[in-house]
């Protein structure tokens, strides 16, 4: 080092001398001499410096430094490999677990959706059955409660008509009966006249008998005739009495007939009124029930496809499982890539005899290869991945 310094100082002095010569002395020979000496000194100095530099660099890149770095790299790489391996394994396990959980859950949800749909269909059937049962009475004439009430109402009207007609006929009967009673009364008058005739005949017969008795023996035959006439008049009076008795009996029967006819004609309309009111209430009730039933049926008809739609939507939404599975699988590919890198890193420790340079090159190549593979996989995956709404898959 001191040699170099002296040489440099000497060079500086020589340069100064050259300048002095140049400016003040102007001796060419001195200039050439000094310049030659300076040149030689500079050559020597240069060789000295190059020697110094080569000697100062070489000991720093010596064997001791190289060994320490390799160990550090190995240990770091080992730790890195351990770390990556552990993390990747955990991620892998979690991925697997997620896959199983999602798959199980989707299977369960799908089953429950199918069950829900079939239950809904059953319910629909039952409601339809219920409605058809409630509207028809179950016989062949397809009669409904509605028509039953209408028929009943008509029957009631007919019944009222029959009652009124019966009353009218009874009243007519009553009129005829009254006329018949009047007829009977005139028969009684006639009978009275017949009785008068009979009593007069009786008197005449009595007179004839008296006259015959007065005539003595000559009137004996006439007395017999008079007696017979008298007997006839008595018989006729008895017959009259019999007829009167019979006709009185007939009058009694007619009185009974009048009572019957009166009962027949006088039907109380109150219960009919009540029945009619009840029938009206029933009619409006049936009408209301019919309207409600129709409304319910219409609502059910709207709800049923809505349930089907909702279930279909749910089932379609379940395709997320497929997409999730694809994502998880591609993630597994990524994780296995990490595993590959990790495996390469693992060789650093196992094969320390292989030069670090070669190992690094292998690591670099593996990294590039894995990078390319992942890139390709990513490209193809982005093509495969579908929007969930586009999938029109119906499982039923």
């Amino acid at each position: 080092m001191s040699h170099m310094k002296n040489t440099m100082y000497l060079s500086c002095v020589l340069s100064l001398l050259i300048w002095v010569n140049y400016f003040f002395i102007h001796q060419e020979i001195i200039f050439v001499l000094l310049f030659s000496v300076l040149f030689i000194l500079l050559v020597v100095l240069t060789s000295q410096i190059s020697k110094f530099i080569s000697s100062s660099i070489e000991p720093k890149n010596g064997d001791t430094m190289s060994v320490v770095d390799n160990e550090l790299i190995h240990s770091v790489i080992f730790e890195l490999q351990q770390f990556i391996h552990q993390e990747v394994t955990i991620v892998e396990n979690e991925l697997q677990r997620t896959k199983v959980i999602v798959s199980d859950a989707v299977t369960g949800i799908s089953d429950s959706f199918k069950h829900l749909q079939s239950l809904s269909e059953d319910q629909q059937q039952m409601i339809k059955l219920l409605i058809s049962h409630s509207s028809s009475m179950g016989d062949d004439n397809n009669s409904s409660l509605d028509s039953f009430v209408t028929d009943s109402n008509k029957t009631l009207d007919d019944f009222v008509g029959v009652i009124i007609n019966t009353s009218k006929q009874s009243l007519e009967t009553m009129i005829y009966t009254d006329e018949m009673v009047i007829q009977f009364d005139s028969i009684f008058k006639l009978l009275s006249q017949v009785e008068g005739l009979a009593s007069q005949t009786n008197l005449l017969a009595l007179n004839a008998a008296i006259e015959a008795a007065r005539a003595g023996e000559a009137g004996r035959g006439f007395a017999v005739v008079a007696n017979e006439v008298r007997n006839l008049s008595v018989g006729s009076t008895e017959l009259n009495e019999d007829i009167r008795t019979e006709i009185n009996k007939a009058k009694e029967i007619i009185a009974k007939l009048r009572n019957s006819v009166e009962i027949m004609a006088s039907a109380d309309m109150t219960s009919t009124l009540e029945a009619k009111d009840k029938m009206s209430v029933m009619m409006s009730h049936v009408e209301q029930v019919n309207i409600q039933t129709t409304t319910s049926v219409e609502e059910l008809a709207i709800i049923a496809p809505q349930i089907t739609n909702a279930v279909s939507l749910g089932v379609r939404s379940l395709q997320f499982e497929d997409l999730t599975r694809q994502s998880l699988e591609s993630l597994q590919v990524n994780v296995s890539s990490l595993h590959e890198i990790s495996d390469v890193l693992a060789t650093f420790d196992k094969q320390p005899n292989i030069a670090i340079h070669q190992q690094l090159i292998k690591l670099k190549e593996t990294c590039q290869q894995v990078y390319r593979e992942t890139q390709q996989a990513e490209d193809s995956r982005s093509v495969k991945q579908l929007n969930m709404d586009e999938g029109e898959i119906d499982l039923f």
Partner: protein, 101 residues
């Protein structure tokens, strides 16, 4: 008297008025009010404004009156029936056969 009748001076209208109960017991009286009248084109007005009860025989009597009215080409009007009586008349569908006012 349960049944009263009045023939208008111009022989155009016969008003028959019934009291509270219109039933079988009135049939003879009721018939007597119109049976002897043979005027043609007469308006028979049956005033039921005071009538509260009516049974089927009353309906029968009204029908007999109607037969009589038709026989002489007259017209039958039932006047001012109470709510109950109107219901009975409607059940019997008399509104189809005659005027109820």
């Amino acid at each position: 008297m349960a049944v009263s009748s009045r023939l208008s001076g111009d022989d155009k209208e016969l008003v028959i008025r019934i009291d509270e109960r219109f039933d079988f017991s009135l049939h003879q009286q009721f018939r007597d009010t119109y049976n002897s009248i043979t005027i043609r084109d007469l308006t028979y007005t049956l005033d039921l404004s005071q009538t509260e009860y009516m049974d089927s025989s009353a309906l029968g009597m009204i029908l007999l009156l109607k037969d009589h009215v038709e026989l002489y080409a007259g017209k039958l009007i039932i006047s001012r029936p109470s709510e109950t009586v109107r219901k009975i008349l409607e059940i019997a569908q008399f509104q189809r056969l005659m005027t109820i006012e």
